[in-house]
């Protein structure tokens, strides 16, 4: 037998344990124990005098086999175990008793779980409402005392979430304009109504697509960042520090972010309008031979100003939704690191969801009013 290994064998009424009962050999020992044929004897003796090493794992395993034997109604005794290992075994034994006597957590029934889930929903709804109320109060306060607004952090957010978002929003809406023009060109060519490409691109982009694309992009880019930032501040107790310094997290964190987005989103939308229409213009001249001059002339005739105004009019509302959802999810973070990730995801999904719901409601209402 190699000195590095461990074994357990039964000979008559004696169980021979040998070798090193340590973590490395435990998997092997477990296999040996499973393969053992336990004799139908009432009294068994463990002979552990050849155990050369034992760690907690070994002691726990030995204790498990002893407990199993007792459950079968056998009387088990132990001899020859070195004193230092005996201590470990005792510890494992105390543990075993504690485990048996310890109360087992019972799984709640389905009614209880349903009730808990419903209650949680109600609670989170109430928290959301409370947050909305708090932020409204903060806004009203800021409207009356414009000096209390933290302009520095507002400008910082404006730079990070507005200016720095220009390249990506520009590129994206430009490509969307290209895509719409391509798809429209196929259909319009069939009817020989090439010039209507201007109506198609102008109205759809200005009124719906550009504001939505920008909002979705900003929800993913900034809404998630707000949730993660505020959440991390909460985890690291920075929020508590802010509160104890007598500063309201609302005015320090939520207000500047929301105001900055309210300013940035309409501006980004205008920029996106320009880029999108430019993309469409390129394709119109290439595919439908509508020259730039014709395009612009037709644009003035066909696309009413209200489409543009409706488009950028929605943007501030999108901004409020995205910023508040992001901040709210940040404040909801309780536990640790994984909670930050979860709430960041929720902030994006919820932000986009609410933006689209709001957009749909707008469409229905505006249709009613014939705009």
């Amino acid at each position: 037998m190699v000195a590095q290994q461990a074994s357990i064998e039964i000979a008559g009424s004696v169980i021979h344990c040998r070798g090193r009962w340590t973590l490395q050999n435990l998997a092997d020992l477990e296999r040996q124990i499973r393969a053992l044929q336990w004799p139908e004897v009432v009294a068994l003796t463990y002979d552990a005098s050849h155990v050369t090493a034992m760690d907690t794992g070994g002691a726990v395993l030995l204790q498990e086999t002893i407990t199993d034997g007792r459950h079968r109604g056998q009387q088990l005794s132990l001899r020859g175990l070195q004193q230092e290992f005996e201590k470990l075994l005792q510890l494992a034994g105390i543990q075993a008793k504690a485990m048996v006597s310890g109360p087992s957590a019972s799984r709640p029934g389905w009614i209880e779980r349903l009730g808990q889930a419903a209650w949680q929903q109600l609670e989170s709804g109430a928290r959301g409402l409370a947050f909305l109320g708090e932020s409204t109060v903060a806004f009203l306060h800021a409207a009356r005392h414009p000096r209390s607004i933290r302009w520095r952090s507002l400008l910082r957010v404006l730079h990070m979430d507005g200016v720095n978002a220009l390249p990506i929003t520009g590129l994206l809406t430009f490509l969307i304009g290209v895509v719409i023009a391509y798809q429209g060109a196929e259909q319009l060519k069939k009817f020989g109504t090439n010039i209507f490409i201007v109506d198609l691109i102008g109205i759809s982009l200005l009124r719906e697509i550009a504001p939505l694309i920008v909002a979705i992009l900003i929800a993913g880019r900034s809404g998630s960042a707000y949730a993660a930032e505020i959440g991390t501040m909460k985890v690291t107790e920075e929020l508590d520090a802010v509160r104890t310094l007598g500063i309201s997290p609302m005015s320090l964190l939520v207000l500047p972010r929301t105001l900055a987005l309210v300013i940035a989103l309409p501006l980004l939308t205008v920029y996106a309008d320009v880029m999108g229409v430019f993309g469409g213009m390129l394709i119109a001249s290439g595919q439908l031979s509508v020259s730039f001059a014709e395009f612009v002339t037709r644009f003035e005739e066909a696309v009413a100003v209200r489409h543009f105004l409706i488009g950028i009019g929605k943007a501030p509302f999108f901004a409020v939704i995205i910023a508040l959802v992001g901040c709210y999810q940040g404040f909801q973070i309780r536990g640790g690191v994984d909670d930050v990730g979860r709430h960041t995801t929720i902030s994006v999904v919820q932000g986009i969801f609410l933006v689209i719901i709001f957009d749909a409601i707008c469409s229905i209402l505006l249709n009613w009013w014939d705009l």
Partner: protein, 269 residues
């Protein structure tokens, strides 16, 4: 028992280690060795590079020059193929616990076992339960998440995870920092009793003078990027080095040493 076994290869051998971050010199030619079975403490003021040294021993950071051998293996190779065999032989308790916040206490403790062994679920559960009770946590805390535990309990849970593989070597980073004196003393006792039970070698980074007096066999004091002195607390407290004197004979140092002397007298009578 500590420095007697000079013939054996040291568990940790730090030779001529220098560390620089840009222009800042953290260590300049540091050499230390830790023998099997001792409680070795690395002490020193804030920012003297204690934790950096620990991170270098663990292979998380590479020194600018010099070498560190852990169980005779260069710690720079820890991350590589034969690292796993070494990783089974030591446990680390980080200063703030570094428990995985998405896992319960029990799941946290079982991670090393899951990763390195193929044991049955029942044995895994029993070993984990044994460790949890060893570090003095109640059985019902096993299902709790780290965020639901107090600071002291989190420290104990981290210790349980560090010793779950029955390592030969245990690293403790500031084990008693931020704990109240009672719990800190309890933690010292816990480390001593685990050392007795499992035959551990303990390396700890600390500036808790009480726990230095109580459990450290040998202490290395770092300062100005160098090892200012190595020895038992008795020896160090008689050192002539001004920084060490400052460290041990400041108001807190004196109280701790008086307490230690009083404890010794108490034991003798």
């Amino acid at each position: 028992m500590p420095p007697a076994m000079k013939t054996e290869t040291p568990v940790i051998e730090i030779s001529h280690v220098s560390t620089r971050f840009g222009a800042a010199v953290v260590h300049a030619d540091v050499s230390l060795s830790v023998q099997r079975g001792e409680v070795f403490a690395i002490a020193g003021g804030n920012g003297c590079g204690k934790s950096t040294l620990l991170r270098e021993i663990l292979g998380l950071l590479t020194p600018s020059s010099g070498s560190i051998r852990l169980f005779g293996v260069d710690s720079r190779l820890l991350e590589e193929y034969d690292g796993r065999a070494i990783h089974r032989r030591f446990g680390v308790m980080f200063q703030h616990g570094a428990l995985f916040s998405s896992l319960t206490l029990e799941e946290n403790v079982v991670v090393p076992l899951r990763e390195h062994t193929t044991l049955s679920p029942r044995l895994l559960r029993d070993i984990v339960a044994a460790k949890i009770s060893m570090v003095g946590l109640p059985p019902d805390s096993a299902a709790k998440y780290p965020s639901e535990l107090s600071g002291g309990m989190r420290r104990r849970a981290a210790l349980a995870r560090a010793i779950v593989m029955d390592p030969e070597l245990l690293f403790l980073d500031e084990p008693t920092a931020g704990l109240d004196p009672m719990i800190a003393a309890g933690f010292d006792d816990l480390v001593l009793s685990l050392k007795g039970l499992l035959g551990l070698t303990v390396v700890m980074v600390t500036h808790d003078l009480d726990s230095l007096w109580r459990i450290a066999n040998r202490v290395a004091v770092l300062g100005n990027g160098k090892v200012l002195g190595v020895g038992t607390m008795q020896e160090l407290s008689q050192s002539e080095d001004p920084v060490i004197r400052e460290y041990f004979h400041g108001p807190r140092g004196r109280a701790a040493s008086e307490q230690a002397a009083w404890n010794v007298r108490g034991r003798e009578t």
